[in-house]
Symmetry: C2
């Protein structure tokens, strides 16, 4: 324990907070026993911390707990949800009567926090993400002139996650001094003691090595906790970490610091014993059945139309380059747009935006997990974040994107350098599984432009659309195909080449669209007409337009994608056709094994997605 001077706190305040902690413990125990599951002991270790936060340190409006002006709280150890709900209830954010609905199908109070609950900005429950979310919230507050603070409660087990230390280095680098991290060091993990048990000083040293101020306190000593929070709030120039040494199950003799109680509700008979130690126990307020869920989550604020495009048909521009131009153009009419870079801004072209708006690009360095969760925090402050890096490296943040999906967060992702068309750098730099992974995020829009005009239009759609959007850009330069006033609705597709004699529909996107157009020329010379579709919106799929075109070409369809065969364009298209009962003659061209370094055209040929392969497939199917 560090010997930091404790400020004197009036006894009456401490008594009131101790009473709150007692009530939070009672709620947490009763809620989980009623639910028959949950993590009561992980709540009990944090009771004094939660009481000190919600009933003293934090300044917020219970009627509008997600407001810019108010302090925010992130329950990074999401399994301690019951005590968060109890604190929100006692603070007047949600009705106390709802607490006993915990974990039931009709309740907004789920097993782990979800953002339908007022006061919750991000779904948590996948550990180690909350500090990054908190950093995003804190930066979002500062950037918009709010002097609010952000408090993040982490478990000690979760501090083994590397993402915590990405957040720590990031917050220190940017002097995010309105961020306060609290570690609930109860020493017990799920299945055994944590890596450092109660040695909270290890975490203190780690935070200090990252540039934070940090201290260890007794997490059950309200005076100590309040004083530490006060130091965190007063901190100037550096974020502050409080490592609170606690006992899991504290307050109930047979639970305190006992192994074997993680994630277990106390059985009804033992609950009686537990509550007897916490007397007097208030009566349960019956639920009135009314949900207190937020009506809807935030929609990105509207903005004026950006300047018109001035591309020339046939002009050669990489979609990744157009991404940067688009962001800069939108930045002029939407000051909420913020770019986040992973030290590849000269490759993703996020630097085009930075050159125009130098203070609106946040350098996230090479730490993709933190970038995505910071974006989630910024979006929860009604900013419009665009995270860009190589598409393959967004795989590093797949769990963060998964949680952003559950959070219904308005974040935008751009993955550049997709597929084998990057050439010489080799397989580690080639995203070939990104469509599969990101398509599986509920509600996500998966956009894959082929030219500069469609890229620009789709980036604008992303900034206006609620939910997650993923834009896949390519390294090679490609010809402008569309007029500057072309529209690209979501969902949608473009028929790029069409005749009444078409004998097959070829569906591509990005570099493979140009291979399809080359194939169309080659086949035309052989007397075979084909229809070529630009599937710029991979998800949601425009099934009606797809069916219409494939039916018009007698069910003959070839998909071609710079992606592995699983979960990409081919599977979504063919499964949709099968579900619609269309009989097809189909070929699914994709990269079917780990690729190799080489020149892009060589690789398209070798790995089966070039114009020649399309020609061969069409000839085989359409004969």
């Amino acid at each position: 324990m560090t010997a930091m001077p404790q400020s004197a706190t009036p006894t009456s305040k401490i008594a009131a907070l101790a009473e709150k902690a007692r009530i939070l413990r009672i709620h947490s125990l009763r809620m989980t026993t009623a639910a028959g599951s949950g993590h009561p002991t992980s709540c009990l270790s944090a009771a004094e911390i939660m009481a000190a936060l919600f009933f003293d340190a934090m300044k917020f409006d219970p009627k509008n707990p997600n407001a810019l002006a108010g302090d925010r709280f992130v329950m990074s150890k999401g399994h301690a949800a019951p005590i968060l709900y109890a604190a929100l209830a006692e603070a007047g954010v949600i009705p106390v009567s709802r607490l006993m609905t915990l974990r039931t199908i009709g309740s907004e109070l789920e097993g782990h926090p979800t953002p339908w609950i007022p006061g919750v900005d991000a779904a948590t429950g996948s550990l180690g993400q909350g500090l990054s979310v908190g950093a995003g919230l804190a930066i979002g507050a500062k950037r918009q002139g709010s002097d609010a603070h952000v408090f993040v409660l982490m478990g000690d087990g979760e501090m083994a996650e590397g993402s915590v230390w990405e957040a720590a280095e990031f917050a220190a680098h940017y002097d995010v001094d309105n961020l306060i991290a609290i570690g609930d060091v109860n020493g017990l993990g799920q299945s055994q003691r944590t890596m450092y048990d109660h040695d909270a000083e290890v975490y203190q040293r780690k935070f200090e090595s990252e540039g934070w101020t940090a201290e260890v306190v007794d997490g059950h000593d309200l005076n100590a906790v309040l004083a530490a929070l006060g130091r965190g709030i007063a901190s100037q120039g550096r974020p502050h970490a409080i490592l609170a040494r606690t006992e899991k199950g504290h307050g109930v003799s047979f639970l305190a610091d006992k192994d074997g109680w993680h994630g277990k509700a106390v059985p009804a008979d033992l609950l009686v014993k537990a509550l007897a130690e916490l007397e007097p126990v208030p009566a349960i307020i019956p639920d009135d059945g009314k949900s207190c869920a937020r009506k809807s989550l935030a929609v990105p604020p509207d903005f004026a139309a950006p300047s018109a495009l001035t591309y020339k048909l046939g002009e050669s521009i990489a979609t990744r380059e157009a991404y940067g131009t688009a962001l800069a153009r939108l930045g002029e009419v939407n000051e909420r747009i913020i770019a986040i870079d992973g030290d590849v801004k000269n490759s993703t072209f996020a630097e085009t935006f930075q050159k125009q708006f130098s203070d609106r690009l946040i350098q996230g360095f090479i730490a993709e997990q933190n970038m995505v969760s910071v974006a989630l925090g910024l979006a929860a402050q009604n900013l419009v974040p665009f995270v860009a890096t190589f598409a393959c490296f967004l795989a590093r943040a797949f769990d963060q994107v998964r949680m952003a999906g559950i959070s219904h967060s308005n974040i935008n992702l751009c993955g550049s350098h997709a597929g084998i068309s990057i050439g010489e750098d080799g397989p580690s730099q080639m995203a070939l599984e990104d469509l599969a992974a990101f398509r599986a995020i509920p509600g996500a829009a998966i956009l894959y432009p082929s030219d500069a005009v469609s890229t620009e239009k789709l980036v604008e759609c992303m900034a206006r659309r609620p939910g997650i959007a993923y834009l896949r850009t390519s390294r090679p330069k490609t010809a402008v195909l569309y007029a500057n006033d072309e529209k690209f609705p979501i969902p949608g597709l473009k028929v790029v080449c069409k005749s009444a004699e078409d004998r097959a529909t070829v569906i591509g996107a990005g570099v493979t669209l140009y291979e399809a157009l080359k194939a169309a020329d080659q086949l035309k010379a052989k007397g075979i007409a084909i229809r070529v579709i630009d599937l710029y919106c991979v998800k949601p799929l425009d099934t009606a337009a797809l069916l219409e075109n494939v039916r018009a070409t007698g069910g003959c369809v070839v998909t071609v994608e710079d992606h592995y065969p699983e979960g990409g364009i081919g599977e979504t298209v063919l499964a949709a056709l099968a579900e619609a009962g269309v009989t097809v003659k189909a070929a699914k061209l994709a990269v079917d094994r780990v690729p190799h370094s080489g020149l892009a055209p060589e690789l398209l040929e070798k790995f089966g997605i070039s114009a020649n392969h399309i020609v061969a497939a069409v000839e085989r199917l359409a004969k």
Copy 2:
């Protein structure tokens, strides 16, 4: 710079190593200029480090550089591949004549290291993964009685990745004192200066806070580098980190510490100038066109048949429980099997294995990225690792799994608690995108058992099979369906219920298989016979058996999965049927939105994958 005593190194040795460093620089520059791309300046900063490692510190057999007895090297900053290849060539591992084939389609020397190259244990190029791989290699050496050391070279930019610090805490916790980390602190990232520029002492403090010994040296001072490596090799009880302050592009005046040269080959005219600073320049040895790639990568060593199973038909056992039992049973006959846990061993049932073989479970704590890369290192020492955690949390390591795929690594993953059938914990704990993500890993087997017998048999398959395998287990108890001697080949499926009158094929796996069987009973009562398929092997798909069954039921097919609609069972099945030209009447039942907490049966009903939904789908299609 730390003031550590330098051991006296003979001048002749230093001169010889300086000469090697000079040659490595020349190779790196020439190779990348010839290739027209690459990262020469990232090589030049590491020339003294590489010379000291490969020509003094490391003890290994150039004819067998991946041997257990020999020291290993992991080039975590994979973009510095050219200097690794140059060092391997100068050390006699690969012919010098191959160097100039860098990055060409016919060369094993790809843009970033891949394991076909002798001396390379893991593909690198996604930053921040090498230290975990090194920890796995080092532990794998120790466990098998080798006193070899493992050296990992990282860039400073990559040390922003949280995964590096997961590896650091892990290696310190397990006293992996045969692991030496070297940070090439050249201060320059891709697009700007790194977070800490040349402040190498920050990294030193971070490593020290994790429990390492650490020191800062001048990375271009061979005496200093050798002395530091000596201290690393001599270290007892703690891993050692060397933070080498260097200059990017060092050795060539117009490249040294200059921005704007990341990832750029030196143009031919400037190469002449560069080489003039490095004279005398040896002649280029012409390539003879022969690949020096390893003939094949490791196959898991064979082992005796495990004891027979003794399950009773109808007995109720969760597949996650059977996983633990299987691992323990296999552990008896295969001493190479190692379990890796993320502090959920009581949920995944890896604890069953641990109870029997307490020293063969490695506790990885809550740090999934590190767990997967450590497994890769263990597999490269011919151990057979099984990593288990909640399936949703394996998403945290998706990029590591991606790189393991490129590495053709023999790692086994088990994801428990898949899908909404976990119930009350809510969406953050429900893996619903794991099939989509892991199916897209080339060569991966995706296994999804429904009962204890199939689980046991599939775990044995995993231990024998080269490449990545992913096993998806479920939380609820399910009835044993198969006899103890049933075989489960890969690929394959089981027809669980069949008659000559079947009017539809219903395909499930895990909990949905039992819903399908319930639906079969309900439909039978209505006079409709259906065929039920257990798709225990989702990838590779047994297309022939699938087609046979679906054709036998007139093309009428219903897929039902505890997974999102994208990239899972429905899409793989329907796309395969479409590709085969089968006309189907199909329904694809899946969880089509973010789910909720609740009781498992309630959730199956609410989210559309219960027996009732299957009955309705069959009635609609088969009428």
